[in-house]
Symmetry: C2
Subunit: 223 residues, 2 copies
Amino acid sequence: KKQFAVIGLGRLGSAMAATLADLGHDVIGVDANEEHVREMADVLTHAVQLDATDERALRAAGIQDVDVAVVSIGENIEASLLVVMQLKELGIPTIVAKAVTSLHGRILERLGVSRVIFPERDMAIRVAHSLVMTDVIDYIELSRDFSIVEIPAPPPFVGRTLRELELRPRLGLTIIAIKRKPATGGPEVTTVSPGGDERIQQNDVLVLLGDNAQIAKLDELLG
Amino acid sequence: KKQFAVIGLGRLGSAMAATLADLGHDVIGVDANEEHVREMADVLTHAVQLDATDERALRAAGIQDVDVAVVSIGENIEASLLVVMQLKELGIPTIVAKAVTSLHGRILERLGVSRVIFPERDMAIRVAHSLVMTDVIDYIELSRDFSIVEIPAPPPFVGRTLRELELRPRLGLTIIAIKRKPATGGPEVTTVSPGGDERIQQNDVLVLLGDNAQIAKLDELLG
Ligand SMILES: Nc1ncnc2c1ncn2[C@@H]1O[C@H](COP(=O)(O)OP(=O)(O)OP(=O)(O)O)[C@@H](O)[C@H]1O
Ligand SMILES: Nc1ncnc2c1ncn2[C@@H]1O[C@H](COP(=O)(O)OP(=O)(O)OP(=O)(O)O)[C@@H](O)[C@H]1O
């Protein structure tokens, strides 16, 4: 079991601290704002009010013993950088930090942050792509050139088997899963790597993987 | 080509407006804060300073003609709800809005928002899951029970073909892609739906899809 510290219990920090605690790990949460500390006190192993740019305060809270520290301070770039440096000097093995601009992110990397998080930017890209395409429910960037999209089964696909549809040879798209709400009611069922005999039903949601050009082409076909 | 309006040019709103403009669409950006408007003026079709709770100001900016409106106002729940209601009454077909709490999100749905965005919460879940697992580079929730993880090729896999590894029958995991940096240098290459003869190389990143129990089991094996 890993020990975590989350510094900055704003919306991102508190959600991360809560998820980590939910997954069964010890989490020390710290924030300069007393109300934010109080809101998390019941959820975390410890929730401490302190100024995280103060090394002695961090030590007093036991931060030096954690495996992973998450720094979730957005508005105040100076505080974000000072805190990361303190954590580095405390010898914390893994530091993850939120950045609000690319420049902020590059500085964090320079300071030795293992992973820089851009929550607003990443969500913006994801939602914007799904909004510009026809009927795309979700869009996930897999790499610079490949994406995963979720679309409702297009009417021409309904009733056909995957073998008949030939999505890979004809459209260069791989169907990695089908989400289906059972006719009898009950929760949605996900079928992963459906076989060639799988027949598409009305209201199926298809999860497709392909390169961005192929996905754009699908969008044109559907549009 | 769709017409978009983005109301609230904070970090999420400005990133969404910029991505939509980048994808070739017309974007009207509005914000009460002059500096935020000015920062986006060169990037968008129009950037207007106004109070979006004011219906006449919205009409004057031409908001009623857009296909999709994005409301990205986080801190001020009241403003977020008032703006959404104005947009509904202007007859805008699709409204997407950011929410900062689940309650806020439920109210937005009640008002007819087609999609509620929780950027901090979703990113928190994604990053927290990848942090608790051994060596997981990224984690994407596909549905309540299925996830996609990216992991460096575990040493026992290196040099083996996918057919030999039998990931589906033995571990219930589907390898949907392999990311590889060519030995000769140059950008990373993604191979989608690799075939049975694909041989895993050192430093490959494997993109795996499976149900959460199977992924947790993989994590135990790797840990
Ligand atoms: N020096 C510091 N020591 C401890 N906590 C701090 C310090 N500076 C900022 N914080 C805390 O970090 C939290 C997040 O800060 P801030 O609001 O700047 O970031 P944000 O990225 O806008 O937050 P959110 O995650 O809500 O989007 C706040 O609760 C704030 O009190
Ligand atoms: N009534 C309003 N009319 C126009 N713009 C508004 C109104 N209320 C808030 N805004 C703008 O919305 C933007 C985002 O607001 P706010 O900072 O509350 O949200 P946030 O969710 O914290 O932002 P971020 O996307 O940076 O995380 C700000 O630029 C603000 O000026």
